[in-house]
């Protein structure tokens, strides 16, 4: 099956794949700062370079940490909780 071979190929070169991904992220920020027209941005904040990158990253961290805190505050419980 070719698809499996492709995934295997990528997994064997994980370090290269990760490097390429970071390269693409840097390129994205660069393009955003240089090329993208921010005339129609809704607020002034958004005109900061890489605003949405920071928003995405911090949002993700916030969601994970806040949710886990919420879960461990008593919301998560054993699986047979409802079995009397």
């Amino acid at each position: 099956m070719k698809l499996v071979q492709l995934i295997e190929f990528l997994r064997h070169r994980l370090k290269t794949v990760v490097r390429i991904c970071f390269g693409l992220l840097a390129l994205l920020i660069l393009l955003d700062a240089v090329l993208v027209d921010k005339e129609h941005a809704h607020t002034h904040l958004e005109r900061l370079p890489a605003f949405w990158s920071i928003f995405g990253f911090l949002g993700c961290v916030l969601i994970i940490i806040a949710s886990k805190w919420f879960g461990h505050a008593g919301i998560m419980t054993r699986e047979d909780y409802y079995d009397e």
């Binding site: 995405g56 994970i64 949710s67 886990k68 879960g71």
Partner: protein, 594 residues
Amino acid sequence: MNSFWLHPSLILILGALLLPLVPGKLKKAYLLLIPLLVFVRTLNLSAGVFGHVQFLDWGLIFGRVDKLSLVFGYIMSLMCILGTLYGLHVKENAQHIAAWIYVAGSIGAIYAGDYLTLFLFWEVMAFSSVFLVWFRRRPESLSAGLRYLLVHVAGGLALLAGMVIYCRTKGSWAFDAVDVHHPTAAIYLILIGFMLNAAVPPLHAWLPDAYGEATFNGSVFMCAFTTKTAVYALCRGFAGMEILVPLGVIMALYGVVYAVLENDCRRLLAYHIISQVGYMVAGVGLGTAMAINGACAHAFAHILYKGLLFMGCGAVLHMTGESKFTELGGLWKKMPWTFVFTLIGGLSISAFPLFSGFVSKSMIVAAGFEEHKYWVGFLLLLASAGTFLHTGLKVPYFIWFGKNQPKPEVWNRAAEPPVNMTVAMAIASALCIFIGCYTPYLYKMLPFPVDYQPYTAYHISETLQILLFTGVGFFLLLTKLKPEPKISLDLDWFYRMGGLAFLWLARKPIQATDTLVGELYRRVGLIPLMKTARLAALFDNNAIDGLVDGLAQSVRGFGRRLRLAQRGQMQENLAFAFAVAALVIVAVVIYSSR
């Protein structure tokens, strides 16, 4: 009925009822034919009001066809084809019948022009979809189904009460937009009925409870119809209702938070339904043409990608028998195509450019910004980071990759699903990409003219940055996100524990009171009664019986003697009788002559 109008639901209901009569060889063709006929009929519907039926005092309208009902009817009949194709190999007729009647209920509610017809189909949906949970046939499915039904009956009652009061005061049963700026108690009751089906917190807990427990293909149907019919009803009746904006935003984030904690992939997807429907509810609350367009477009795209995601996870469940992240992992070697399709679903729900969510979700966010409600826009974008985090990353990663090694029996069972399931996933994936790439297909169907272009450099850059940096966060915090074999308590706790408390109440205090009353009755009532009875029996035996028996014995003894004297001789008898008579006369004469 003035002229016959072929209702798409009628085709489905008749098709469902005739299904058991179809011979085995033709069954698969028949299963595909009926949904196709429904889809063709939906394509041929022309705008207008049809299907007037006079029933007692009420004029029912079964076919109100306009742009709003058309777009929902279109996607629902399309999803019916995909869902049936996905479960084509299921042998049990009853499962197909339940699914089709459920879809018929949903389509019927969408074309309903009055509250009574809406309510009728609304209840058909609840009572048919519960079977999709029960057919999984686990003990948990039975109770999950019962809870689902109870909650929906409660919502249906709120809707019924609201619509009766509302229509009585208004003097018309027509189902149109209510006066959202001056809501009455009746309007709120109707809203509660709709919100329950749309799974708006705090009325949402039925959704992950039931959808996580339904059959592998039952969830594919359920995820598409109940909540989206409710979104339609909200679009129709409550566009511009302010309170729906904060509720929608809360929904969008609520689903995300619970998805972090969830260990069951289908329950995770269910929480993301709540999150995604939150966008639509917020769109309805905003109420502008763009927001309503966004809500409809997002419902359309959502039905496809959420169906696709449930198909992917349903395929894993169907093949391995497992849906928990802690029991799965590394399946890319065994189910690579299922992985690719699920990933496409994940990219679509996360609104990646070129995928369906990108062209629909952004309309609602943009409508929020346009109305200068910045908090709506920012919080919805935060929720979309969460969406990618779970559905785009967590689900594919922990099922198909991850460090976890499933048990050998799970690993051995894992394989690509039957071909019909794969084809259904492939078609749904193709549609997700098609909608994302060719925007006029979806935009032309929307109720209002669309003046929106999602593919601007700014929007693409914004979305890619949010999503890709969410990805960075995911891989950095991977250890924190490791699934835990636990369940998360949600608001169903109240009625589940309420149920248990009721059982306890029935078992302990009520049972104890019952025992006490029984004992009291025995002591005060029964024992003296028995004693009296025993005395009466004694008296009866010795006194009354003695008297009666004595009398009876004397009569019998006399009779025996009399019988001995009788020998059947007439003369003797006569002589004896005369002798007695003579003796009596002599005795009388002697006595009187004294």
